[in-house]
Symmetry: C2
Subunit: 209 residues, 2 copies
DNA sequence: AGAAAAAACTAATAATATTAGTAAAAATGA
DNA sequence: TCATTTTTACTAATATTATTAGTTTTTTCT
């Protein structure tokens, strides 16, 4: 249901308005909770009436869906950026787990939207889901490469799924219990080194003993 | 805001009606999602009008809160029942992780209500939260006992928190991706033996090497 | 059966997302 | 710059939500 083409100038204006609606939506989600987003509240913050928003999005779900895609794109960029500094396989593991949690702390609105189900009735569109799977699947690609350097009976997918589950578990518990504490601190935040050491012990590098 | 006392007969009727409201609420939550519970839908299933429900509960939140307490009570009973069959420390670990996931699969409505945040705006009451912490804290008690039998530098609390985070992570991923598969199956369900073996390796029993 | 209590009802309020139809504003072509 | 067309914002209305107030019906007890 995209609008018909129009002049570059109109497109620019439209894009800017759309962007500022998304910014306002994120601000509300951060301040009042992801599910507290309402068309009226959003319109109020934009100095508009609610129905005007429907010139830019066909529904509230479409706003959520757009932010869902933004969230995964930002998550992908976040991890890739951190990965640039990696010094090897060991560091990859740490970066992935810390990166998962730091993304959640820096973008709690997008994190919840992408990795939890804070909005009843909202289901990401097929295309958005495909995007998210694509991003997560990159991890599997890498896993089958670095697996050769590890001394373990686990398959690449098992390794990745285990790491995802642990990163998610730690992050969910941290956000549920001590969301105000920065990464590395608190009951669950401080467990990152613990689980890293457990995982390293279970999957030693070939060459280590 | 509890009602004044009344005759035993009235109390019985009242209790029975209250219970069947809770049953209907759980059925709706299972069929349509935890957050899809509405007073009108609940009343419809009870062959009532919505306002009549307020004779039994002061608000929809109070219904959720009551089920939250029920959920933790049932979770506690579930784990305790499984623990009766335990053959030792190793089995305790397995039972706790499997028990967490099997409870989630058998009672998805209560699991989500107790361990996730599926209902925007619903915050368990102080008393309900106290109950839930009390139940979880029993794990810490036990941890400080069995810790002596383990060869690890971790504190009892660290062990318990790690196990909770892993159990939660596996369960959340399993429910999000393959909720139809029974315990032990699927990408994440089948990882239980994997994480058990990883944890056992990281915390060997004294006497083992 | 008649009085008291309990539990149901109807009607109404405020908030929600969304649609239809209309007015205002902006962009475009002469 | 003016007239036309397109774009954007508006008002009004609908259906659904939780909840409250006030009333009537049903149940309970003597």
């Amino acid at each position: 249901m995209t609008k018909p083409l129009s002049s570059p100038r109109v497109q620019r204006n439209r894009k800017a308005a759309t962007q500022s609606i998304l910014d306002a939506a994120r601000a509300i989600m951060r301040e009042e909770g992801v599910a507290a987003l309402s068309m009226q509240g959003l319109a109020r913050r934009m100095d508009m009436r609610a129905p005007s928003l429907y010139n830019y999005f066909n529904s509230k779900a479409e706003i959520y869906d757009t932010l869902f895609r933004l969230g995964f794109a930002m998550f992908d960029a976040h991890i890739k950026e951190l990965m640039k500094t990696s010094t090897g396989l060991r560091d990859d593991l740490r970066i992935n787990i810390e990166g998962y949690m730091s993304f959640a702390l820096e973008n709690p609105d997008l994190y919840q939207l992408c990795f939890e189900r804070p909005v009843p009735g909202f289901v990401p569109s097929k295309e958005s889901l495909a995007l998210s799977f694509g991003i997560l699947n990159q991890s599997y690609q890498r896993a089958n490469q670095f697996k050769k350097q590890l001394n373990t009976k686990l398959t690449g997918q098992q390794i990745v799924d285990t790491v995802i589950a642990i990163a998610h578990g730690l992050t969910a518990m941290h956000l549920a219990n001590e969301p105000h504490l920065p990464i590395g601190q608190g009951r669950f935040g401080s467990l990152i080194p613990v689980v890293l050491s457990i995982l390293e012990q279970a999957m030693p590098l070939k060459g280590e003993s």
